[in-house]
Every structure is written in C-alpha cells, then in structure tokens.
Amino acid sequence: MQQNYDEPLLKQDFTVQGGDFIHAGEVSSKIKSILKEIGMSHEVIRRASIATYEAEMNVVCYAQRGKFYLTITPDRLSIIVEDEGQGIENIALAMKEGYSTSSSAIKEMGFGAGMGLPNIKKNTDELLISSVLGEGTRVAMVIFTKP
C-alpha cells in the first residue's frame, strides 16, 4: 500500500507565554521528548531542538504569547510558530548574523546577539518567516526526516 506522505502521524499544539523567562524552554523540552519517544534520528532531534528553542526564546523575548504547532508526517516534521508581538520590521536584516534589536535585559540573559534566526535557518531545511509590524510573526520550519 502506498504511504500517504501528507497524512500527519502526529499533531500537537503548545502555548508559550511571552516574558516568562523561568519557564522559557519548556515547550522545546516537551517537543524534544516527543521526538525521542517516536524514535526520530539523533540528528533530526538535535536540529529540531536547537531551532525550536531559538524560536521559543524569540517568543519569550519579543512577544506577548505564541502558539507552536508541531506536525509530523512520514517524511518531515513541521513546526509553525505564530506569535502576537512586536513583529519584525525587516526580515532580511533580522536574518543577518549579529543583527539584533534586543534590549540590554535580554542581552544580560545571554541572548539577543543576533544569532537566533540565522541559527534556525542553519538547523532547518525550509524556513518561511512572515511578519506584520506591531501584530506578530509567523515562523514556519520544516526538517526532512528521511535521509
């Protein structure tokens, strides 16, 4: 029987609260456990963990709240992040290593060095970012799971 590559094997949503630095990372941790449980390859788990965690920190640092939509199909995993927040004025600029608009408080936490989006790009196979200034940002990440 032919496998339907669009049929999700797993779908799950998560909510991230902006500004909650104590719990920041919990959603990434949960997603990582799920990927481990279903037996994803080590490399896929590593890339997904880094990309998800960077995206989660972006929500915590720059948005009021965000939703993470995890979908796993037979050949890929997709994580879509939609946040209500300040948005990104210039996405091309934000993708540049070292470019950052972060506050000194975020920098003191060890983030906001302008490495987040470039690092997400590095650890995903497809990345689509759209944003409306003052409303929010949508980050769609895909990682292929078949070698």
Partner: protein
C-alpha cells in the same frame, strides 16, 4: 578528564552531580552568550560560562551538553539549580575567572569542542 578531576583542577564546588563524578568529559565550550553556545557548542561538551539563569540549563539540555561550570565565583539561581536537578545536569562553581578556568582545563587535556567557528560552518 572526569568531573572529579575537573572539580580538583578548578577547586570547584559541586552544586549538582555528586553521583556522576566519574563521568568522562573530552571537550568544552566557553561563552557568556547562550546564542553562541547554541550556534557553536557540540553535543557532549562541557559548558563554561558566567550566565546563571535557568536558560543555561535549557541550552545544555537542548544541545545534550554534559555539564556546566560557572566561573568568576558566580552562583546559579535557585531555579537554575532546581532545573538542573530535574534534568540531571551536573553544576560546578569555581572562583577562577573564565580565562584561568579554560587554561587550567586545557593544559590538563580538555580541548575545545570546535577550534574555530569555520569548523562549525562545515558541519
């Protein structure tokens, strides 16, 4: 090098991880920028840092690093210690500055998990 040896070399206090002092570490990454840790550190490395908030443990968890050394006499926040206990991530505190801590570990055989950022680009 084992964590026990590391603690001796750095005259370090063991905050979490008394039960894994015989775990062997081979390489390390040192930075106060977690963004850079996420971009350049490699699985299995030791993290040497001055950042003490819970995100340092999250970063360690995500990258599957082996443990954290806090330098310059910094003490991890209570939430950081709690999270590290839950995640079973060893924490050490040393009064050496980052440069000294790295130098002492390096001269005892611990190397960088990468040597130049060009290496990271190749992976």
């Amino acid at each position: 090098m084992t964590f026990r040896e590391l603690a001796g070399i750095l005259d370090a206090e063991v905050v979490v991880g008394h039960d894994c002092m015989d775990v062997e570490i081979k390489n390390a990454f040192a930075s106060d920028l977690l963004s850079d840790v996420l971009a350049f550190a490699r699985e299995g490395a030791l993290l040497i840092t001055g950042i003490t908030n819970p995100q340092v443990v999250r970063t360690t968890e995500m990258l599957e690093l082996l443990g954290i050394v806090f330098v310059r006499g910094k003490k991890p926040d209570e939430d950081t210690v709690k999270l590290a206990r839950t995640k079973k991530i060893p924490l050490f505190c040393t009064r050496y500055i980052m440069f000294e801590a790295c130098g002492r570990l390096f001269s005892n055989g611990l190397v960088g998990c990468i040597t130049r950022v060009d290496d990271a680009a190749k992976l």
